[in-house]
């Protein structure tokens, strides 16, 4: 779909939304019901409801290290030691250091911010249903979010350094503040149909579909989300939609799961109740990818030293489809699914920067390389994944630190950037190396040559895959009231043959593995007192053979500032959560723990208070420790360990 088509979709959708809201309001005026509106428009039933909510996450942790203003090397002086290039000899190249050209560096002009809030937004949601006939309804939901911004990175503040950042989308990499909401793949406007976004606002229609029901058939056509499976938070069967990690990323109330995170897709979904026990559920959807936080936004996890070129524009005419069968037989339940989809998470690899910016000649290394390239080093660099600009990586130490943080191999990554982009890279005197020290020297050589830092360019691509899943559930019947009675056990597993992963070297060939994900879920409601409703407990365990919960290859685990990763064989996680409603459910206390036995934990206590039907107050604290057991890059949650925070949400609903 080209931009103009998407624009028309957007306009159509928003116009429809406006119509929905207007019609609902008209109905409201007719009925005179101040809190909720329903009425009749020529025999057509209209209803409208929604809420307005203030959300604030008070920061008690650190600034996001993946952003410019949270970079752990800000204000740090780091020594750089270049090496001597020996082109064509991996064993010798840069093996010999060159202390004569050694220097020290800082991330010049980039200060660490000090925000009191990780996240503060105003959210409004409105849902309208129009019953067109006994069988047919039109349902629409509009979500609007405003984020006033933070003390964040101003790309123009580094314009003094080699002319500032040059490559990448202007609105993502060169603005005077981060772009909190726009999803901007290369050459693609309005990548999400029915969405209107700017730097500080987001308005979209997570739902706008016709719902047709006749007998056992239910058909939905339009923009929608699909949630499958029994496991909570762990996504095994929940594969139909990507996730929208803008806003609060995965750090919302854990027990809400991904309530507002699934990226809606233009879809046709058909449900058919074959028998009392068996339900078939199938969909065909226009492919929409997972949306990661933009550079320098609060919960971004792609280091801001990278420039991402998202190729979704080449895939926006693709489709995903799937079928699930679900059967319940008393204590037993079964489900199976087969999905053919484009993996919405996508994969990344080095790509040409296309930034023609010469190396500076005010240092011997830059001058040498620039001269050897006929005084056109910028043209050569444009054919490599790098641009000589500020806000990139300034030292080999930073390179390896951040490679480990994002579960990449700093040495293999360097070699892939060199080998996959030869002869441009070799023309710059870069060459494959064998050892960590050689890579260290070579990296420092080119950071010095660049006059400060190099920004790396990566592209995001998408691959088709088949996901097969099986699930079984069992409700234990024991002595009434005993601990095991009514324990609900669910086992779900999925298998994806030949799944494509981001290579830990960001190489052009990616990685392929057969991937399996298995989750065991045990749920139990238990009453401990007569006056308090039952406490809800859930225990979950997950096993993954190829990637972690964020979809990163496990081969990238275990690196550090001083070493390359040795990888891990599998990832296992445990969740323990509980909810305790108070009498009449006016208050509800909750507690959730996500534990990675390799050494990290998320603990999230919270409380929900409903003083009145129209008011809801929620508070929860997220404590994340990614350093329980040695190397934090050997465990999942170190990636988010900066984000300790107290979140408060106050909603008025109607």
């Amino acid at each position: 779909m080209d931009g103009s088509k998407a624009g028309r979709w957007l306009k159509t959708g928003l116009a429809t939304a406006a119509m929905l809201v207007a019609s609902g309001t008209a109905s409201a005026q007719a009925e005179g019901d101040g809190s909720f509106f329903d009425g009749f428009l020529g025999g057509v039933d209209v209803s409208i409801g929604g809420f307005i909510r203030v959300e604030n996450a008070f920061q008690t942790g650190d600034e996001n290290p993946f952003n410019q203003t949270g970079n752990i090397y800000n204000n740090q002086t780091v020594a750089r030691l270049p090496g001597v290039p020996v082109p064509g000899s991996p064993a010798l190249s840069f093996a010999v250091p060159n202390p004569l050209l050694a220097d020290t560096t800082q991330r010049t002009g980039i200060e660490t911010s000090n925000n009191w809030s990780n996240y503060h937004i105003l959210r409004g949601e409105v849902e309208t249903g129009i019953r067109l006939s006994n069988d047919l309804s039109l349902i629409g939901r509009m979500r609007a979010i405003y984020d006033p911004g933070y003390d964040d990175f101003n790309a123009n503040s580094v314009d003094f350094d080699r002319g500032g950042i040059t490559g990448g989308d202007r609105k993502l990499y060169r603005g005077n503040s981060p772009n909190y909401f726009e999803f901007r793949p290369e050459g693609k406007r309005h990548a999400n149909p029915l969405e209107l976004a700017g730097e500080n606002y987001l308005v979209y229609l997570p739902s706008l579909f016709f719902d047709y029901n006749r007998g056992p058939l239910n058909l939905r056509v339009g923009n929608q989300q699909i949630a499958w499976g029994q496991a909570l938070f762990f996504r095994v069967f929940d594969v139909a939609n990507g996730l929208d990690l803008r806003r609060h990323s995965v750090l919302d109330y854990a027990q809400e799961e991904y309530a507002d995170k699934r990226v809606p897709q233009l879809s046709i979904r058909a449900g058919y109740q074959i028998t009392d026990e068996i339900l078939a559920d199938a969909y065909v959807a226009k492919f929409q990818p997972t949306i990661f936080g933009n550079p320098n936004t609060q919960y971004n996890i792609i280091p801001a030293q990278f420039t991402v070129q998202d190729r979704y524009g080449d895939f926006d005419d693709k489709f995903s489809y799937g079928l699930r069968l679900k059967a319940n037989y008393g204590q037993w339940g079964f489900q199976g699914m087969a999905v053919r989809r484009y993996n919405p998470d996508g994969v990344f690899r080095w790509t040409k920067s296309n930034v023609d910016k010469d190396l500076p000649t005010n240092n011997p290394l830059g001058l040498t390389v620039h001269t050897l390239n006929g005084f056109e080093s910028g043209q050569t660099l444009a054919n490599t994944p790098f641009e000589a600009s500020p806000g990139g990586v300034y030292s080999a130490e930073e390179w390896f630190e951040y490679a480990a943080m994002v579960r990449l191999d700093g040495v293999a990554g360097l070699n892939a950037a060199i080998n996959d982009f030869a002869p441009a890279t070799t023309n710059l005197l870069a060459s494959e190396v064998n050892t960590f020290d050689q890579a260290h020297n070579q990296l420092d050589t080119f950071f010095i040559a660049s006059g400060g830092s190099l920004r790396g360019h990566i592209e995001r691509k998408y691959f088709q895959e088949t996901v097969l899943g099986l699930g079984v559930s069992y409700v234990v019947e024991a002595e009434p009231g005993s601990p095991l009675d009514q324990l609900i056990i669910n086992l779900e597993t999925s298998y994806t043959p030949d799944r494509v992963f981001t290579g830990i070297d960001l190489g052009q060939n990616f990685e392929n593995h057969d991937a399996s994900v298995t989750a065991l879920v045990m749920e139990k409601y238990q009453r401990f007192s007569q006056s308090f409703p039952a406490t809800y407990f859930v225990f979950q365990a997950m096993h993954r053979n190829a990637d972690d919960l964020f979809g990163r290859s496990l081969r990238g685990y275990g690196g550090s500032r001083t070493s390359t990763p040795d990888g891990v064989g599998s990832a296992n996680y445990v969740v323990l959560a509980a909810q305790q409603p108070f009498p009449n459910d006016i208050y509800r206390a909750a507690f959730a723990v996500l534990y990675d036995p390799r050494g990290s934990i998320l603990v999230q206590p919270g409380v929900k208070w409903k003083p009145r039907g129209s008011i809801t107050v929620e508070a929860f604290y997220s404590y994340i420790n990614g350093d329980l057991n040695g190397n934090p890059n050997d465990t999942l949650l170190s990636t988010a360990s900066f984000a300790d925070e107290l979140t408060l949400r106050v909603a008025y609903q109607f």
């Binding site: 739902s207 029901n213 029994q230 699934r262 006056s531 009449n584």
Partner: protein, 459 residues
């Protein structure tokens, strides 16, 4: 004209004596069901003092009067204790209307016809389930119209909740604080379908292939936004020793999930004082409760007619009483000649917050007219009283096929320990859902897993 052959306390003495002897059989002068079967008028079974409020109070209260704090002591014995307290101390009022003598106006027409037709056909099988004399699932109507025990009464109550083959009730719920403020206000729907004992919808009396089920029932919420789409589906086994399967769609999870089948004493939504267990005063399978016994018999005042508010286009009711004038529905009651009070204990729910319940049942129709539950200390905990009616009033009517619809109209659920009140009313429609009766679409639209997904709305 009814000839006065008995003194004023004859009925009272009869009730006391029969309860003390452990004998139950509705009626004083003759079995009430015999009177109904012979004439359609249950009054033949009762002496004069049990036929009208005037007779009972010797004219001190008359039809058309209001029961208020000033005169409630005259009828204290006609009221369950919490309702008496509500009138005495909280400003509740009841308006007295004439006692209905036509039994066909006190339940759905086809149901009463089936009760008459199938009388004597029911028995318990070896597992205690109601079957026909041939051992088949029940074929319709009240199974034991001449019930002789608390268990027979309660078995019928559990089996035939709404007395229609299928219903979808559009409901408005109001949850009030002890201060009388409406804190929570919900729109919800409650659907029931009986695959056995069908008397109106084809195929009758069974839905082929589903004879092993007693009931499909769902409850779902459509407003406010925070609760929208939350729904629960119960599938009842015919065997009353088995817990229903319970599935739920919870807004926070955005998908259907299986729930423990014993989750019947938990608030479904914030602010509500209702449990699944409370439905029709018989919300759980028969043998998950036990020790059924008759604890008293006697006349009562109850809203068994006139509950429908035809004047409001959406059938909504007016309120009065309580600190803010919003705590109680305006309610019409009539003099009921005989209510049987049954007590039962939640034997299969060792962690339930209630220790027992007492249910007032109209001996003529075997409909529940009030319930009081007690906490584990034996203290009164919550009370329920409802109003029924034929949906025919002032020249308007809402028909169930060939006859005016009969159903419940409104319910009070009151937590006497906290002072919180939940009021429910059946309305013509909530957003997108209308009250329906005996409509074949009810099953597919409300009573399957696919239906729960659809009701989940935009999620």
């Amino acid at each position: 004209m009814h000839i006065r052959r008995f003194d004023h306390d004859y009925g009272r003495r009869h009730f006391l004596k029969s309860v003390a002897a452990g004998v139950f059989g509705g009626g004083v002068l003759m079995p009430v069901w015999d009177a109904i079967a012979n004439t359609g008028d249950p009054s033949k079974a009762y002496p004069d003092e049990l036929l009208s409020i005037e007779g009972y109070t010797k004219g001190r209260i008359n039809t058309g009067d209001e029961i208020t704090a000033d005169n409630v002591d005259l009828v204290k014995e006609l009221l369950e204790p919490i309702k008496y307290q509500q009138i005495k101390t909280m400003g509740r009022r009841l308006k007295i209307v004439p006692t209905t003598r036509d039994i066909m106006r006190l339940s759905p027409w086809e149901y009463m016809e089936a009760t008459l037709k199938n009388a004597g056909q029911a028995r318990f099988d070896e597992r205690g389930n109601i079957v026909t004399l041939q051992g088949k699932p029940w074929i319709g109507g009240t199974p034991f119209p001449n019930a002789t025990s608390a268990l027979e009464l309660y078995a019928g109550l559990t089996m035939t909740w709404g007395r229609h083959d299928a219903c979808m009730y559009a409901i408005r719920e109001y949850d009030l604080s002890a201060d009388g403020d409406v804190q929570f206000n919900y729109d919800c729907g409650w659907a029931e379908l009986s695959p056995i004992g069908r008397v109106s919808m084809n195929p009758k009396p069974y839905l082929p292939g589903r004879e092993n089920k007693l009931r499909y029932q769902s409850v779902f919420f459509t407003r406010p936004d925070s609760i929208k789409g939350t729904s629960f589906l119960n599938i009842w086994d015919y065997d009353q020793n088995t817990f229903p399967e319970l599935y739920g769609y919870v807004s926070a999870f955005k998908r259907i999930r299986q729930f423990p089948t014993d989750q019947r004493f938990e608030p479904l939504i914030p602010g509500s004082t209702l449990y699944l267990s409370d439905a029709w005063a018989a919300g759980d399978p028969l043998y998950t409760w036990g020790n059924y016994r008759v604890v008293s018999r006697g006349p009562a005042l109850s809203g068994v007619s006139g509950g429908w508010n035809a004047e409001h286009p959406n059938w909504e009711h007016k309120t009065h009483g309580g600190p803010k004038g919003k705590t109680f529905w305006d309610t019409q009651v009539e003099f009921v000649p005989e209510a049987v009070v049954i007590e039962a204990e939640p034997v299969k729910f060792p962690r339930a917050p209630v220790s027992k319940k007492r249910v007032w049942i109209d001996a003529r129709t075997q409909l529940p007219i009030a319930m009081v539950s007690y906490d584990r200390r034996g203290e009164p905990y919550r009370s329920f009283d409802g109003a029924y009616g034929l949906y025919e009033s002032g020249g308007k009517s809402f028909n169930d096929g060939a006859h005016p619809y009969w159903s419940w109209a409104h319910v009070h659920a009151f937590d006497i320990q906290t002072g919180r009140m939940t009021r429910l009313e059946q309305v013509r429609e909530i957003a997108g859902h209308k009250t329906m009766v005996n409509d074949a679409v009810i099953y597919d639209r409300y009573l399957t897993n696919a239906a729960l997904m659809r009701i989940g709305g935009s999620d």
